[in-house]
């Protein structure tokens, strides 16, 4: 009888005793989870993601909870949509359904800004290799520089699943920090004269047929050049095609609302589930966060410098600040450009131009990841 009571009591106290004996990393990660929840709730930093990620992190770090063991809730979500890359792709359908590529189509050359904005990816790849990461892990880390959460998750879950947690948290955190990271770089690289350049207003010149054919053409062209990235580009363009064809409004609305919301919840919880203390707290995690920061800074540097080049080539008709919007953080980066432009000239409206560059960055980040995957395939590494 006494033995049974003791065994029963052990069942109630084993979690607490584990926490005090070997639960140091769990305690730290419980604090990290609480910080993520604080940032999401109180500061409203990417709350749709940080709240489920933070809560998932808290859940998985409660000792002996077994949520990431086979059959556990978080493991189930992970296997259901991250291990097989389904969740990021479903999110891409929603993103495609939300984005209006009209401002990019008004001036297609803005796409080149979207290419310049991916420069940080490739320098970060060299940096990761120099720090000793194997090739596929280095590629997965570098994709943080795409500033595109779903793409980073898609690549990491395939080629570096052991680094998925730090990579995805870094990608989403830095996306949210774009309004803090970019402005000092933009100011440092431009002159006061350049910052007040007013660009000609955008004239509406895109027909509905062009907008309808755009997603199909982009899918075909990028699919032929970089087929390994077709799941990424194909889903984003499927969403956009549903938006532009206007005959499947229910599917479009479901993609950008219900499906995207449910998947975001599951994705966040599953990523939080990968943040178990003993696995997450490694020097590599800190390095990944550092390299992610470098990548986004370099993206901004390259974008603004490319803007200066285009400004010079156009005889001063292009404000170089818009180059900073060539990353994938949409529409945050475009808003940052608008705010910076108006800081020096209240009547300067750069938003539409920056939105064109920003949607170019959205496509650019997916193309960069697709090209990298196809090059890896060509080299026989995947």
């Amino acid at each position: 009888m006494l033995d049974s009571i003791q065994t029963g009591l052990y069942g109630l106290t084993s979690g607490v005793s584990y926490l005090f004996s070997q639960g140091g990393p769990n305690v730290i990660m419980l604090l990290v989870g609480a910080t993520l929840l604080y940032l999401g709730v109180k500061k409203e930093v990417e709350p749709l993601l940080l709240v489920p990620i933070g809560f998932g992190c808290v859940l998985v770090n409660i000792p002996l909870s077994d949520l990431m063991e086979p059959g556990g809730l978080l493991r189930l979500l992970y296997d259901m949509g991250i291990a097989n890359e389904l969740f990021p792709l479903l999110i891409f359908v929603g993103i495609g359904a939300m984005i209006d590529f009209g401002s990019l189509l008004e001036n297609p050359k803005m796409l080149l800004f979207g290419a310049a904005g991916q420069f940080g990816i490739f320098i970060t790849l060299l940096l990761a290799l120099a720090l000793g990461f194997p090739a596929l892990e280095a590629v997965s880390i570098a994709v943080i520089g795409a500033c595109d959460g779903p793409t980073a998750i898609y690549v990491a879950s395939q080629y570096a699943p052991q680094l998925l947690a730090p990579i995805s948290v870094a990608a989403y955190s830095y996306m949210a920090l774009v309004p803090i990271i970019q402005p000092p770089i933009m100011r440092a690289l431009t002159t006061p004269k350049e910052r007040v350049i007013r660009m000609a207003p955008i004239r509406r010149s895109v027909s509905p047929q062009t907008k309808l054919l755009f997603p199909i053409v982009v899918t075909l062209v990028t699919g032929l050049i970089a087929p390994k990235g077709l799941p990424l580009m194909g889903t984003i363009m499927l969403g956009n095609f549903m938006r532009e064809c206007a005959v499947v409004t229910r599917l479009q609305k479901a993609s950008e609302n219900e499906i995207a919301n449910v998947v975001t919840l599951f994705l966040g919880l599953a990523i939080g589930g990968t943040m178990e203390g003993h696995a997450f707290l490694k020097p590599a995690t800190l390095m990944i966060f550092g390299m992610g920061f470098v990548a986004i800074c370099l993206d901004t540097v390259a974008g603004v410098l490319f803007g200066k080049l285009v400004c010079w080539m156009s005889g001063g008709k292009v404000n170089p600040l818009i180059g900073a919007a060539g990353i994938s953080a949409f529409p945050m980066a475009a808003r940052v450009v608008q705010a910076q432009g108006q800081l020096y000239d209240k009547k300067n409206h750069l938003l539409m131009h920056a939105a064109g560059v920003n949607t170019g960055g959205q496509i650019g980040s997916v193309v960069a990841a697709a090209v990298m995957l196809s090059v890896l395939k060509g080299m026989g590494l995947i």
Binding site: L104, L105, P108, K109, M110, L111, L112, G114, A115, Q118, F119, I121, F122, I123, L125, L126, L129, A130, A135, A138, V139, R204, S205, V206, S207, Q209, T210, L213, F214, V217, V218, V221, T222, I225, A226, G360, I363, G364, V367, A368, V371, M372, S374, V375, L376, M379
Partner: protein, 51 residues
């Protein structure tokens, strides 16, 4: 970093960045072409025809 890693990193940088630029440049040309093939009809098109 050993030679293999350098070779891999530089290959990814040159082919990856070059491929990204090239793909996006081709896309921009195709988008320009689409706009030419399917231009936006002028709102005052009818009046222009009369003159």
């Amino acid at each position: 970093m050993d030679n293999d890693k350098w070779a891999f990193g530089l290959t990814m940088m040159v082919v990856g960045m070059g491929g990204t630029f090239l793909t996006l440049w081709i896309l921009s040309l195709v988008m320009d072409l689409l706009k030419k093939v399917f231009p936006l009809p002028h709102e005052g098109g009818g009046a222009e025809k009369k003159s």
